[in-house]
């Protein structure tokens, strides 16, 4: 079983003793609990195998059941493009695309993504061959510090798909008509991605360009 190592910073002492020597004998679809001693007494830490498919590549991991998809990506697969902001689903920095839909990776357990197709910012494009949304963010100056940007871009790519698929938003006037990729629609649909630098106007313009409409 191929499990990349932990970042040192993520290894809590309480997990170190428990992690050693555990691999075999697991039941598919169920985790196995065992006691790990620490100073506070015995607590049951539970681990479970999961295969994550990220940007088209499969990874076999055995994870503490508490591990979020965000932490699995960052701390176990060392894919740090996806950012941790609030860790409570409020800021959108952790947005990734799972089976074509954007989600907050901080509010989802890694062990619940067996078999899912996960796309992160690393899977959208490369510096040499940027995704059209990445190129539009550069062109329109859709970021300043850049920390929220991977989440913004993953969200923006999925928003355009949602509009095309007829998913309504709070500012949609006519539920029965085709959805419009208007500036107000972009702003409403992107409200789950917070940018402290305030690049919102330029983000909306970048999205409008990709959608083929003027902002």
């Amino acid at each position: 079983m191929d499990e990349p190592g932990y970042f040192a910073v993520s290894r809590r002492g309480v997990l170190q003793s428990g992690a050693a020597g555990f691999a075999a004998g697991t039941v598919p679809g169920a985790s196995v609990a065992f006691a790990a001693e620490n100073k506070a007494g015995a607590i049951a830490v539970s681990r479970m195998p999961v295969r994550l498919e990220v940007n088209g590549e499969g990874h076999d991991l055995t994870l503490d059941t508490r591990t979020t998809l965000l932490d699995a990506l960052r701390e176990h697969l060392h894919m740090t493009g996806t950012k941790k902001g609030c860790d409570h689903g409020q800021c959108g920095a952790c947005t990734v695309i799972v089976n074509g839909e954007r989600i907050n990776s901080c509010l989802s357990l890694a062990v619940m993504h067996e078999g899912d197709a996960i796309t992160t910012i690393e899977g959208l494009g490369t510096p040499e061959a940027m995704h059209p949304m990445q190129a539009a963010f550069v062109k329109h100056d859709g970021y300043q510090c850049g920390y929220c940007t991977p989440g913004q871009i993953c969200s923006a790519v999925a928003v355009l798909k949602e509009i095309a698929a007829g998913v309504p938003s709070h500012v949609t006037e006519d539920l029965g008509a085709p959805m419009q990729a208007s500036n107000m629609e972009m702003r409403e649909r992107m409200s789950g991605n917070i940018c402290r630098c305030g690049a919102y106007s330029n983000i909306a313009e970048a999205m409008a360009q990709v959608a083929g409409e003027s902002a």
């Binding site: 049951a44 539970s46 059941t65 689903g89 959108g92 947005t95 309504p168 539920l175 702003r187």
Partner: protein, 318 residues
């Protein structure tokens, strides 16, 4: 987060059986509210039962012209469903008035009904909260209460039910279908699903321990104009101060339910009967209100929000 064991089940019957075996278990589907609360250790299940593979993700027509919405249908899928957009617009509009696109892609119909209050004292584990720790007291009384409830609240708890979807379901008279740990099924009208807090604010719904929602059933379409108006401190991605779900005819007669003011979506027969008189309907909806100094504005806001919705139904403004 406290450690937990994890189990995947493949049918509602298996889920019910798994719940019957483990006292500290919780079902998990979208997880958007439960995991947030687990990180804060407000929720600390010892066992999670993953119900996402139980085949409850479909929307289907019922024999009497209504819709059966599987408990696992996501908020996004429900709001975007062609029949929902056409025949139950109030439901589509309520759903997209809540949360963010990312959350709506994960959040499920069953889970959304069970989302817990956003009272700041429920969330702050350093403060007394009868809902989080029974009989520990209520810090909200005398605290910051702008967002909190004005009707149906109790001495023990003034929190609100925070959701939008259920306010629309209340106006539509939806019915919740469940399976209990012994495997038996039952139905619960949405009007009886969320409890008033009373002396036991930690018991929030009519569900028994281990009982799982399998579907929400909508009766045949009502016709009329479907509106959902939500007043909040931010224009997007914020919980309601007051929201109104309405299905109205061109004169402004029909049904209304109000969110953001009570432990459950608030619908009063006398208010529906008083329509299209916004003032009379609002009086019926807020009768017996016991607001705090900080949220007494909600009484006037209910009437004004209702008046706005009625004007829109009558075509007075776009």
């Amino acid at each position: 987060m406290k450690p937990f064991t994890f189990e995947r089940v493949s049918s509602p019957a298996q889920a019910a059986a798994a719940a019957a075996k483990s006292r500290g278990a919780r079902f998990i589907a979208g997880g958007t509210n439960l995991l947030d609360l687990m990180k804060l250790e407000i929720e600390a299940p010892t066992h999670l039962i993953d119900v996402t593979q139980t085949g409850l993700g479909e929307i289907s027509a019922t024999g009497d012209g209504g819709l059966r919405i599987g408990a696992l249908v996501t908020n996004t899928a429900l709001a975007a469903h062609e029949r929902v957009k056409r025949d139950y617009g109030v439901l589509s509009r309520a759903i997209v008035a809540g949360a963010s696109g990312q959350l709506r892609n994960k959040a499920t119909t069953g889970g959304n009904l069970l989302q817990r209050t956003r009272c700041p004292y429920f969330y702050d584990t350093n403060m007394a909260c009868n809902k989080r720790v029974p009989e520990s007291g209520c810090s909200a009384r005398g605290g910051v209460s702008r967002q909190l409830g004005i009707v149906g609240v109790s001495e023990a708890c003034i929190a609100t039910y925070p959701g939008d979807m259920a306010v629309a379901l209340r106006v539509l008279d939806a019915v919740v279908e469940t399976v209990r740990p012994d495997g038996s099924a039952r139905t619960i009208p949405i009007a009886e699903f969320h409890r008033l807090w009373g002396d036991t604010p930690h018991i929030e719904t009519a569900l028994e321990p281990g009982e799982m929602i399998t579907a929400v059933v909508l009766p045949a379409p009502l016709g009329g104009t479907h509106l959902y108006h939500k007043v909040r401190d931010r224009r997007s991605y914020a919980f309601a101060l007051v929201s109104v779900a309405a299905v109205l005819d061109a004169e402004g007669r029909g049904r209304v339910a109000v969110g953001g003011i009570a432990p459950r979506p608030w619908r009063v027969e006398a208010a529906d009967a008083a329509l299209p008189d916004a003032a009379a309907a609002a009086r019926a909806l807020t009768q017996g209100a016991s607001p705090t100094d900080q949220n007494a504005f909600k009484i006037a806001l209910v009437e004004r929000t209702l008046a706005g919705v009625l004007a829109k139904a009558r075509g007075e403004f776009a």
